[in-house]
């Protein structure tokens, strides 16, 4: 017997095994082919997303080109697509949304307003399209009533047109750098103590569930960080977000290099091991909630000239340390 038992295989079996194995050996992990073909461009992906929300409004999933193995989650719970969750309760999909597409990965984001029995809710939906079929749909639905959180007036929400603007070549950055800048943002939020691990544009602004949390906003209610400091970087230098023990299960499924947009998914763990903390200027803060909780989010970053210019997020509370079925198996939360 030769090493690894090859000697036990007949010549025929070995040939068959070689034929079966060849395509897999030719590809890098995670890629079906060494040549990435764009089969559905930005417009095509955005059309898929719009068709999805139209089908959602009509409660008719049969209109959609669903893969037989499509995976669907709502607030990180996997369930069959088309009857449960928002599909069962939706009464309207409002016009207008933030739309981002990544031709290379086949992912598209639709982030806008829906209604359930007339009650407005924020929906962020990431969809993956492969070979013309929808293979993944990941949704975050932010609803009321809930614990204290931003929830802007849905009639006043404006998605910044900057997300759609193509950057001049000198203001663009590579895919890897764009992801690093967004990841640096999460590193800054995590255990926020004043250290900044990314770069912000001076005019950086953030919209969370329809409310600006970096600038004074009409209708903003208690707990808005903009009452403590204005601007993305200033807030982080003040250490407002210290309660974030971990930013976990970070994924970056969409990058649009031309427009400088990254869409990230992840969890913010608020362990609440303490209920008071000090800002870097010495002021004492009290946590709004006293118990452990996590928020799940889909967050879009507009990055111009290597600096974060706009952030738009939809998030909601989930039980502390909840996981996403889309996160890598055996994800180690220590190393992310």
């Amino acid at each position: 017997m030769t090493g690894y038992g090859y000697g036990l295989l007949s010549a025929g079996l070995m040939a068959a095994a070689a034929v079966l194995a060849a395509p897999a050996q030719a590809q890098a992990p995670g890629f079906e082919s060494a040549v990435i073909k764009v089969t559905c461009d930005r417009d095509c992906l955005i059309d898929h997303a719009r068709d999805y929300v139209k089908a959602l409004a009509a409660k008719d999933p049969s209109r959609l080109p669903l893969s037989p193995h499509v995976r669907f989650t709502e607030n990180n719970v996997e369930m069959p697509l088309g009857n449960d969750g928002l599909w069962g309760s939706v009464s309207r999909v409002r016009d207008g949304a933030l739309e981002v597409a990544d031709e290379q990965t086949g992912n598209v984001l639709w982030s806008g307003i829906v209604e359930e029995h007339g009650n407005p809710a924020y929906l962020a939906m990431r969809m993956k399209v492969e070979g013309g079929l929808i293979t993944e749909v990941e949704t975050v639905v932010n609803r009321l009533p809930d614990m204290p959180k931003p929830f802007g007036d849905v009639d006043e929400v404006v998605h910044d047109p900057a997300f759609n603007e193509i950057l001049p070549p000198e203001e663009r950055r590579s895919r890897e750098r764009l992801v690093a800048i967004a990841d640096g943002y999460f590193n800054t939020v995590e255990l926020n103590d004043g250290d900044v691990f990314t770069q912000f544009d001076d005019e950086c602004g953030r919209l969370e569930n329809g409310i600006s949390t970096t600038a004074p906003t009409k209708g903003a209610k208690g707990g808005n960080a903009s009452s403590l400091a204005l601007g993305c970087e200033a807030q982080f230098k003040l250490g407002i977000y210290k309660i974030n023990k971990r930013i976990r299960e970070r994924r970056y499924p969409l990058v649009d290099v031309e427009r400088g947009v990254v869409v990230a998914s992840g969890f913010f763990d608020h362990a609440n091991e303490f209920d008071r903390y000090k800002l870097t200027d010495g002021r004492e803060m009290k946590t709004v909630l006293k118990w452990p909780n996590s928020i799940t989010l889909l967050e879009a970053f507009k990055i111009k000239d290597g600096k974060i210019y706009r952030i738009e997020a939809v998030f909601t509370y989930v039980p502390y340390f909840m996981h996403s079925p889309f996160a890598r198996p055996n994800t180690d939360f220590q190393t992310r």
């Binding site: 069962g88 309760s89 006293k290 452990p292 909840m322």
Partner: protein, 308 residues
């Protein structure tokens, strides 16, 4: 064939008999002690000295998490006189009462499974203030003493019958259309997160109709689409107690509905949601006398590691 079958049965009987005759390695006193030690360790934020098994499963409100995280980091106190119920046969013990997180009380149900005097499972449910749904400030809350009282022999039911009665409660509640699959004592009351859902005026269901049986007889819980992941890890035959865990799904495909008495009702939450519940049932004379529990509002259709 007959011979083979008989041989098989004999073999099965031989396999089963030692277990049936075996005395539990951890009796009620032992289980109670381990639960108390766990709670002491929890409040002290010290878990390393507890008698852990080699492979431990731990969940808080349905999420698998490492010991030392979440409530282990936030707890500041635990009730002195909680309700503790044990089942040496299954090796489970439940601690039910009030804990505090940074001084804020919350309802807490905790199930421990003990194998060979080592903790192998910890399942916890927390009902916290500020979350939509039933909640009465937990200061001074104590589980009704009836759950600790022993029943006369005639009032007791066999273990299997007790589980069937509770199972019938869930079957009545799921897609509730007025059909009863269980039996209630006339005095039956249900309390969740300190709020009576069958008496008084503090809960939407109690406002709509009174009494455990009557509510189900008019189909008040029609919006319950499923009661899933049902488990009954603790049964105390002497005291007529069953501890049940379940996930109650409200798909919220509609928000108004009519009960069989012609009344129209509005659902308290108008979006899909799931309640994770740990409930203690008191059963006497084959009827449900009282239900007390703790519930957590969870993402719709969420699953736990225990349900699979």
């Amino acid at each position: 064939m007959k011979t083979i079958l008989m041989t098989g049965l004999v073999a099965l009987a031989a396999l089963a008999s030692p277990a049936m005759a075996q005395k539990p390695s951890c009796d009620a006193k032992c289980l109670t002690g381990i639960a108390q030690d766990y709670m002491e360790g929890l409040v002290a934020h010290e878990y390393k000295d507890l008698p852990w098994g080699d492979h431990v499963g731990f969940t808080e409100n349905g999420v698998s998490i490492n010991i030392g995280e979440s409530l282990w980091g936030a707890i500041t106190a635990a009730q002195d006189h909680p309700y503790i119920v044990t089942d040496p046969e299954s090796g489970n013990v439940v601690w039910f009462g009030v804990i505090e997180e940074h001084g804020l009380p919350a309802y807490y149900g905790m199930r421990l499974k003990v194998v060979d005097k080592h903790i192998t499972e910890v399942e916890t449910t927390l009902g916290r203030e500020g979350v939509p749904g039933a909640f009465k400030p937990a200061d001074g809350y104590e589980v009704d003493r009836i759950f600790s009282q022993k029943l006369g022999e005639k009032a007791q039911s066999p273990r299997e019958k007790m589980i069937a009665i509770v199972e019938g409660y869930f079957n009545s509640k799921q897609l509730n259309d007025g059909t009863l699959y269980t039996r209630f004592d006339d005095t039956c009351n249900r309390v969740v997160n300190g709020v009576s859902t069958t008496e008084g005026e503090d809960h939407w269901a109690a406002k709509a109709a009174k009494g455990c049986a009557h509510q189900l007889e008019i189909g008040l819980y029609k919006p319950v689409d499923r009661v899933r992941e049902r488990r009954y890890p603790v049964v105390d035959v002497e005291r007529g107690v069953v501890v049940a865990l379940s996930m109650v799904d409200h798909a919220s495909r509609y928000v108004t509905y009519e009960t069989t008495d012609g009344q129209e009702h509005q659902m308290p939450l108008e979006y899909p949601n799931t309640l994770g519940l740990m409930e203690v049932f008191k059963i006497a004379d084959g009827k449900i006398v009282r239900i007390e529990g703790v519930q957590a509002l969870l993402p719709y259709f969420m699953k736990t590691r225990w349900g699979h």
